[in-house]
Subunit: 351 residues, 2 copies
């Protein structure tokens, strides 16, 4: 057993289950990733699908990020309509960005976009999505030049290429995925070049592959989860327990000789369970414990015995889906040690 | 391949992904379950954690349900504060109910509840939770009488016993779980009787075990999912495709020779995948297709080829978690064939 070395140093008067952010850890994560990107010569465009928070995006930009990445247009809307004074810095940042990048992986998408009338604004550009081994969306590197040429010939501005090396979500494949990413993007840059198109943005990055990213082929990375960490990252080895900024505060509501039951179920933690996961989530202060089963309002935990009514900090397997279930964060501030509420501004903005 | 025999008969002008309810199927499901309960002599107290909708609860009560079951106090609050005219029928129904039942499975819970001052209202009663084989919360039947006696001796009104036979979520174990449920509740009734306590409510039921429930030991059932159906129920054999009232309308956004990609990911469908599930969800009109992989904003589908931009109806594996991700339902009405919006009133009410 690893000794629990982390403490919130605060008695949180919150109902459970509730998402809690440790501000000190959050700010350390933001600074570490920004420092890494600077150190290896890459621009940083963090993915806000993880936190869906205007405040956290503001901090990422203040730490040096060149922009943000969103997953959906409704997310973009939340992060674009910052009209009040508190959001002025980020709005100014958005307005100074010359382009909004939209990904495509088919000629049909290019033609549809060209026909929409939106492309003429001069502030929108196309990124061709490359399949670097995750086999979800994206074209093969060798096909990217032809697609980019279609987009160009439709009158679109082709800014470059991007990929999501999602096969990095495996303990053995993190470095391999980073190499696949670099090779695929390199092939795509060459394929565009054959069509006379210069890829000025070459974008990669996932949290598991991030530490292997280097400049050369890549110009930027787009990690998301690194801002919080989660049980997947803990088990992939990309973060330690003390790097995890977000937990779900939960209460022990039932107890048997061989298990305890928490009030944090899949409607709060999310039900993600990767092939390499050792359970449905972890307890931050009890690393030997495992969530063996998860139902909508209950987590069944073995490997630790705690009194009824005890409060524990649960680490969700996949923090992005847990965040998407919540309307508010309780943030334990570094300065005061008490909890303040931050909204999950883009919760549910998944259209 | 099963021929797609179901059609929405409507061109839905909705952004995707969006939850869509087919009102005809919804009403048929409500009527069928109510008719089943009446036929076997059981009261029906449907679980609203599935739909979180005031309108649907109202229809269940109108069809003969004696009350509703909620998972959390915040859900109860949503379903209790129906103050406007449209909610008058359900409010009246709630006010005529003599008791609100709260489940306990420990002496500590009983003592805590007795000490809260809430028990003296005369409208609250205790139900002792029994573990009938799911091994989550609940006490063993033989221990239930002693716990009920503790509650009684604290001054609480013990109304009876309840269980959730969650091990019914297995194609081979549905009937076995129903028998376990009946045996465990029977043992609990006897255990309470030894303490001089009459269990006036004996409550069981899950959607997979529902068809095997009979009166005798049980007095009521509390199914949830049966109102909508989902891919789990389809694969468990408790419903057919034409019984599924809720789907997620999704768009084909990418296409490769061996797969199509939909815009409905885990942030809309939920990530639940039971051991017996054949994938991460199904397509209602393409039963041979399977969702092989699910990421936050993408579903990877094999077994069907559809043009880019096609719209499909996705059946989530577990409808309760999909509903908890949405703010609105688009309801295709039986009378008009067009979509109207119903709120998911209790979305996020999981505390």
């Amino acid at each position: 057993m690893v000794a629990p070395t982390i403490s919130l140093d605060v008695d949180i008067p919150l109902a459970t289950p509730t998402l809690v952010i440790d501000e000190k850890v959050l700010d350390a994560n933001i600074a570490r990733v920004a420092g890494f990107a600077t150190g290896v010569g890459l621009a940083l465009r963090p993915h806000v699908k993880t936190h869906k928070s205007v405040e956290i995006a503001r901090r990422q930009l203040a730490a040096g990020a060149v922009g943000i990445t969103v997953a959906t247009l409704s997310e973009a809307l939340v992060f674009a309509v910052w009209l009040d004074a508190a959001r002025a810095a980020l709005l100014a940042e958005l307005l100074t960005m010359s382009t909004v990048f939209l990904g495509i992986d088919s000629a049909e998408s290019a033609q549809q976009f060209a026909g929409s009338g939106l492309a003429g604004s001069g502030r929108l550009a196309i990124m061709v999505e490359i399949d670097s081994g995750h086999h979800r969306s994206g074209v093969l590197p060798a096909d990217s030049g032809a697609l980019a040429a279609v987009a160009r010939d439709c009158g679109l501005d082709v800014a470059g290429v991007f990929t999501f090396p999602g096969h990095s979500y495996s303990p053995e494949d993190r470095q391999t995925a980073a190499r696949d990413e670099e090779a695929a993007l390199g092939g795509a840059v060459a394929s565009l070049s054959e069509q006379g198109i210069v890829a000025r943005v070459v974008s990669g990055g996932s949290t598991p592959s991030l530490e292997f990213a280097r400049s050369g082929i890549l110009t930027e990375v787009r990690p998301g989860v690194s801002v919080f960490g989660d049980a997947q990252q803990w088990e992939l080895g990309t973060c330690a327990a003390h790097d995890i900024a977000l937990t779900v505060l939960a209460t022990v509501v039932s107890r048997s000789p061989d298990r305890i039951i928490l009030d944090s179920g899949s409607k709060v933690l999310g039900a993600d369970r990767a092939a390499y996961s050792t359970g449905f989530g972890r307890l931050l202060d009890h690393p030997q414990a495992r969530i063996r089963a998860l139902s909508e309002h209950h987590a069944t935990v073995t490997g630790v015995d705690l009194a009824l009514g005890s409060r524990v900090r649960v680490v969700p397997n996949h923090v992005c889906t847990a965040v998407n279930l919540a309307d508010l964060y309780a943030v334990v501030t570094a300065s005061h040690g008490h909890a303040v509420a931050w909204p999950v501004d883009a919760r549910g903005a998944n259209t």
